[in-house]
Structures are given as structure tokens and as C-alpha cells.
């Protein structure tokens, strides 16, 4: 290194030590609290409640909220609060697994599509276009009805229908990143394709993917509830907020708690996750804006 370059190198401040700061705002904090509460309630369900999710007591059917049953009982005398706690497990598991798997698939497809371009890109993106030409909830419902009911199939359904949003996002990002000087420089220095993708593109994709994921979790949780509500998806006796609401619909004239509490749980969870997502977006990537 010549002395001039050395001086310059000293004058220009190097990259700061990688200490990411995530300043919390009020709504972000609120969202985090809600999410922590829901996760805690799901994890500690057996400790919090003395009942099991399938324990029915046919003497105590359709009881209104009381000290023994905080949120009342359903048509089989099962404790509603208990079923909501166990329902949180189903919702969270579905939200996280589907977002994880569909995110990885979408990331992979988007990377290939954006990086390789040409025919691969054209074919993959047409596939994405087609899938996006159906309203999400409708496609998910039909795919689920065909695949069949049950926990695995609803997860599979949401993965099949959910990866496209990631693919499109990642492709767009890759197209933009690809033209940046530092990628050109890496290529000019003879870096292998694999190295460029893994070392230079991938690290820059985490932020948009994490932001999208935080919003997708809520969307998937609500989609599962909607599909289970319509009688597909997760089936009773397994507790899902969606199928609990479906059961509650039948008893809307004599048991308001059956349609109220599972819905409140669903809305609070979706709200909490969305607030965290908004906060992540505003903090990690201000240019995306509200």
C-alpha cells in the first residue's frame, strides 16, 4: 500500500463494529409484549390450566364464564380457556413452520430467478404470476380441500400457496443488488458464482425477508383460522381458534363466549405480530415506509 493510500485508509472511518441497535417505540413494545404473552401462554398451557384440551364434562355443557371456567365451557363441557391456550400452540406452530419453510423455498427460487435471469427467470416468474392471479385465501382453501383435512395438510397448503410472495420479493432485491459496484467488483476479482450468491447477495437479503416474514406469520395464522372456520383445515377435537369459532357459530344464540374469546385471542395475536412486523420494518428499513 502506498503511503497516500494508507493515509486515506486511516482518514476514512472503517465500518463500525457490528452492533445492531433496535430502538423500541411504543407500538413495537406493545406488540412484543403481546407476542411474548401469547408464546408464554402456549408454552405453559399445562401449567396454567388444570384441565386438558379434550377433557369433556357432559354435566357442565355451555356454562357461562365463572370462577371455575374463566371463559365458560363449550357444547361438550370442555373448558374454553384451556382450549384457547392449546389453540395458541396450533396457531403459533402453523405460523412459524409455514413461514420458515415457505420463506426458505421462496428465498431459494427468488435467488435463482434473479441471479440467473433469462429463461429460468421467465419460467419461474410466470409460475409466481399465475399463483398470484388467485386470491390467496381462495387458493389456500381449494388446495386444502383437495389435499384433505388435518394439521399436516394445512401446513402443506400454506407452504404451497405462501412461497410466491418471498420469491417475488427476493428476486426484486437480487436484481437491484446484482448491479451494485461491490458485486461487480467481486465478479471482476474472479469470485465463484456460489461465493457471490452466498457471501455478497444473501447477507443483504435477510432484512427484507425477516420483515416480510414477520407480517406473513400473522397472515398465515389468520388464514389457518379462516380455513378451519369453514370446516377444512384443523379438525376437532384438536383445538384451533378457527374450528372453535366454527363450533361457536352453532351456539351463537345461547353461548356468546364461544364466538367471542377465540376471536379475541386471534385478533390480539395477529395485532401483536403485525405491530412487531411494522416496528421491524420501520427500524430495519426506513425507506419502505408505512
Amino acid at each position: 500500500m502506498s503511503s497516500a493510500a494508507a493515509t486515506l485508509a486511516r482518514a476514512v472511518p472503517g465500518p463500525r463494529p457490528a452492533r445492531r441497535r433496535l430502538p423500541l417505540n411504543r407500538s413495537g413494545a406493545l406488540g412484543l409484549i403481546v407476542v411474548v404473552l401469547v408464546v408464554g401462554a402456549a408454552a405453559l398451557a399445562p401449567v396454567i390450566t388444570p384441565y386438558g384440551p379434550a377433557d369433556s364434562d357432559l354435566v357442565k355443557t355451555l356454562q357461562s364464564p365463572s370462577r371455575a371456567h374463566w371463559m365458560g365451557t363449550d357444547q361438550l363441557g370442555r373448558d374454553l380457556f384451556t382450549r384457547i391456550l392449546y389453540g395458541a400452540r396450533v396457531s403459533l406452530a402453523i405460523g412459524l413452520v409455514t413461514v420458515g419453510v415457505s420463506g426458505v423455498i421462496g428465498l431459494f427460487v427468488g435467488l435463482i430467478s434473479g441471479y440467473l435471469g433469462g429463461l429460468t427467470d421467465a419460467v419461474l416468474m410466470r409460475l409466481v404470476d399465475v399463483q398470484l392471479s388467485f386470491p390467496f385465501i381462495l387458493l389456500a382453501l381449494v388446495v386444502n380441500a383437495i389435499l384433505g383435512i388435518g394439521l399436516q395438510n394445512i401446513i402443506l397448503t400454506l407452504i404451497i400457496t405462501g412461497w410466491v410472495v418471498y420469491a417475488r420479493l427476493v428476486r426484486g432485491e437480487v436484481l437491484a443488488l446484482k448491479t451494485l459496484d461491490y458485486v461487480e467488483a467481486a465478479r471482476a476479482l474472479g469470485a465463484q458464482q456460489m461465493r457471490i450468491v452466498l457471501r455478497h447477495l444473501l447477507p443483504n437479503l435477510w432484512t427484507p425477508v425477516i420483515i416480510l416474514s414477520s407480517l406473513q406469520v400473522a397472515q398465515f395464522i389468520v388464514a389457518e383460522a379462516a380455513i378451519s372456520f369453514l370446516g377444512f383445515g384443523v379438525q376437532p377435537p384438536m383445538a384451533s381458534w378457527g374450528n372453535m369459532l366454527n363450533e361457536g357459530k352453532t351456539y351463537i344464540y345461547n353461548a356468546w363466549w364461544m364466538t367471542t374469546f377465540p376471536g379475541v385471542a386471534l385478533v390480539l395475536t395477529a395485532l401483536g405480530v403485525n405491530l412487531v412486523g411494522d416496528w421491524l420494518r420501520d427500524t430495519l428499513d426506513p425507506r419502505l415506509g408505512p
Binding site: D129, F134, P135, L138, F229, K249, G263, V267
Partner: protein, 305 residues
């Protein structure tokens, strides 16, 4: 502009063609498509007869060609429940869905745009905070739960509105509110942020300095310039309403395409499902196309990209 329209039209046609392919492929998702077309208690012999009669023993490429040929003629086969053409049965229910979506969209716009404009004009006021709170809630509350709560309050508790069905204008109230809530929240948010953008511009300051009436500045100068993304969102959200209709119609027993489709799925009436899914894809693509065109028409810059 013509070239732009032609290109987008061609793209939309390709998507519709591919959507047909997806619909065709859906049959094979569960393994044996014949099972989708027959009730669960069908005997093996009946299954074999059905398979032969409808040509499920042919190579898939032959089946695909036959399916496409039928689709182009508007022939998707007969409903298995009601021995009538599936397409006709679905089309019969389209007006109910479109009228509900139309009313919901009007409702959403009449509420959301003033709320967005006022929130932006009175930024950080109590109205703004209330508006933001309502939009966040509106986006987090799933339509099917909102529908149930409305039924509980207005039909079970107050007994002022019918729980479902179609007939009088009273029947429109709850389904359209359910359908409109989410859309209204999105419009209000978008209107607010676009207005905030525009209100900071120099020409607004100029208009105000000239002494124009504040309302005139707000609606004539600001809203007009903020309306571009709102128009685009309008077409996109109309497409979303078609998806939302599936759930809303089921809750309120609204005799539209969405409810018919859910019943067909429950009854394993697969020809009807094929038509419903395909028709939605066509409408949805058409609306996306309209959104693109409106955008290009309003904003000359993007036509040349």
C-alpha cells in the same frame, strides 16, 4: 399507450391460460382425481365405469387437451350434484357476489377517504390517533370473526338485522360492513400517507399563500394529486374482495359464487370448483390489468419503462 395495453393484455392472456393449467393440475394434487368427482361411498365397479366414461384412463396429455378444448368452449362439465352445466350454475350466482362487492367497496371508500384526508390534515390530533387505531384494528380483525360479532350484536342481541340471506337492503348491511372493514382500513392508511406526502409540497404552500379556501386546497389540490395510488389500489382491492366474499358469503348465507364454491368443496362437486376457481382467476387478472392501465394512464412516466 396502445403498445403498453397490447403487451399487458397478452401477458394477462398467458396468465389466464396458465391459470387453466393450474386448475387442471389441482385435480391431481390428491393423487387419484376420480376420488374428487365421486362420493366417498362409491363402489369400486362404479369408480372404474366413471373413470372409463370420463376418460381418466387416457394419458394426461390427452386429458389436458380435452380439458382445454372444453374450457375454450365454456364447457367445464356438469355439476355432479345438480346435473346442469357447472359454468351456468356459477354464472347464475355472479350478480349476487358482484353487487355485494360493489356495495362493500363504495362503503369502504366513503368512509376511508374522508378519514384519511382529515387524519392527514389534522396530523397528530385526537382524530388522527383514533383513525390510526381503527385502521390497525381493521386490518387485524379477520372478516369471519367480525361477521360473527355483528351477527351476535345486531341479530341475536338487538334483533334488528337478519342473520343472513338476500332480499331487502337490510340484508346488505352486515355482509358489506364485514367485507368493507379490511379494505377501508387499507384505503384510509394509504390516503393518509399519500396526503401527508402531498401536503408537504411547494404547490400546496403556494395555493394556501394565494388565500384559497382550506377545503379547496385539501380536496382540489392535494387529494387530486394523491389519488394515483388510491385508484391503483381500488382495482387490486376489488380482486381481494372476491377472495373475501368466500368467507363473508358463507357466514351470512349470501347466495353468491363464494358460498357456492365452499358448498361445492364440501360436497366434492369438483366441476363447480374448477369453474369457480377459474372464473375468479380471470376476474382477478382482469382487475389487475385495469389497475395497471389506470396507473399508466394517470402516470405517463411508467408507460415508457
Amino acid at each position: 399507450m396502445l403498445q403498453f395495453i397490447a403487451r399487458r393484455l397478452l401477458e394477462a392472456l398467458v396468465v389466464v391460460f396458465l391459470a387453466l393449467t393450474v386448475v387442471f393440475a389441482l385435480q391431481f394434487l390428491a393423487g387419484d382425481p376420480v376420488k374428487l368427482f365421486l362420493p366417498t361411498d362409491t363402489t369400486q365397479k362404479e369408480i372404474e365405469e366413471f373413470r372409463e366414461r370420463l376418460g381418466f384412463n387416457d394419458p394426461w396429455i390427452v386429458q389436458y387437451a380435452r380439458f382445454l378444448r372444453g374450457a375454450f368452449r365454456g364447457d367445464f362439465g356438469n355439476s355432479l350434484r345438480q346435473q346442469e352445466p357447472a359454468l351456468a350454475l356459477v354464472l347464475l350466482r355472479l350478480p349476487a357476489t358482484l353487487s355485494l362487492s360493489g356495495v362493500a367497496m363504495l362503503l369502504a371508500l366513503t368512509i376511508a377517504i374522508p378519514v384519511g384526508v382529515i387524519s392527514a390534515a389534522r396530523r397528530n390530533s385526537w382524530f388522527d390517533h383514533l383513525g390510526i387505531g381503527a385502521t390497525v384494528l381493521g386490518q387485524a380483525i379477520p372478516g369471519f370473526w367480525l361477521g360473527l360479532m355483528l351477527i351476535y350484536v345486531f341479530s341475536v342481541w338487538l334483533r334488528v338485522l337478519p342473520t343472513g340471506g338476500r332480499g331487502t337492503w337490510l340484508h346488505f348491511i352486515m355482509p358489506s360492513i364485514t367485507l368493507a372493514a379490511f379494505v377501508a382500513a387499507r384505503f384510509a392508511r394509504l390516503t393518509r400517507s399519500m396526503m401527508l406526502d402531498v401536503l408537504g409540497q411547494d404547490y400546496i404552500r403556494t395555493a394556501r399563500a394565494k388565500g384559497l379556501a382550506p377545503l379547496r386546497v385539501l380536496y382540489k389540490h392535494a387529494l387530486k394529486n394523491a389519488s394515483l395510488p388510491i385508484v391503483t389500489l381500488l382495482a387490486l382491492q376489488l380482486g381481494q374482495l372476491l377472495g373475501g366474499a368466500v368467507i363473508t358469503e358463507t357466514i351470512f348465507a349470501w347466495p353468491g359464487v363464494g358460498r357456492f364454491l365452499v358448498q361445492a368443496l364440501l360436497n366434492r362437486d369438483f366441476p363447480v370448483v374448477l369453474v369457480g376457481v377459474f372464473l375468479t382467476a380471470v376476474l382477478y387478472s382482469a382487475l389487475n390489468l385495469v389497475a395497471d392501465m389506470a396507473y399508466a394512464w394517470l402516470n405517463p412516466r411508467i408507460r415508457y419503462e
